[in-house]
Subunit: 154 residues, 2 copies
């Protein structure tokens, strides 16, 4: 089921927000992309149609759309936050801190943790779109092979 533009406009209006050309275009660009988009890339895309749009508008609208659950963001540690439309089912990303390789995973893996946090701490964790850092399989192997070279491994 595809979310139509008018649904999104309604979703904003119902909450007292307005559908502006800038917002409509941002949602369209995000919805039409199969990759994450940075605020800067999005701004460049928006400016192809409306050249005078300011970056503060892009940032403020991304914040709003994220609050409303229409968009989700993630920080891969590359110096800029990345955004995408919030589709179902949710997914997360595993990021290798050594080679930067990423693995996309289904959010089901987090269900048990979510339950534990709810049971033990009465806390409902947002597990919509996380980035977890660590070592991928290839880099674990590399690290093991290198162990002999370090006189005092941690």
């Amino acid at each position: 089921m595809k979310t139509k533009q008018t649904d999104l406009a309604d979703s904003l209006m119902e909450r007292g927000y307005r559908m502006t050309p800038q917002r409509e275009l941002m949602l369209s660009l995000l919805g039409g992309s199969d990759k994450h988009l940075s605020a800067d890339k999005l701004l460049m895309g928006v400016r192809k149609v409306y050249p005078r749009v300011n970056k503060s508008v892009v940032y403020r609208n991304l914040e709003l759309l994220t609050e409303l659950g229409l968009v989700s963001c993630v920080d891969f540690g590359n110096g800029r936050v990345e955004y995408e439309v919030h589709r179902h089912p949710h997914h997360h990303h595993l990021v290798c801190r050594n080679c930067r390789h990423t693995i996309m995973i289904n959010s089901d893996t987090f269900a048990e943790l979510q339950k534990q946090l709810s049971d033990h701490y009465h806390f409902i964790a947002d597990m919509d779109h996380l980035a977890l850092f660590g070592l991928c399989h290839a880099c674990q192997t590399k690290a093991q092979a290198q162990q002999g070279h370090h006189p005092h491994p941690l």
Copy 2:
């Protein structure tokens, strides 16, 4: 067991790094604090002793100490990253996105997830010091009470 200053110096030297007065003071300030410290607070602390120290030094040393596993950082979404010395056992933080209340939790809660990621994806996730966002118990109750006011809840 308390980590002594000389141990930290050794830990740097073994890897080809040098123990400088700036680093020594940063580690001492971090080690002497029972709270998280921002880069800015740390810079102010360092400047009480060495007034000409530049912020780039603080940021670069925090990056190095984090890479070496001596310090860990966390982003609570307050516009500045917070740092603390890396003590055992590890802990994480649950942050309410509504009231900003935080709960500190033991990292054991994450052991099962870690195993699943390792088994299914051969990925060793760094679960040293995470911040998870969500809704605390009080804010869940508040949100439920408000449901009647929203004609179209999400």
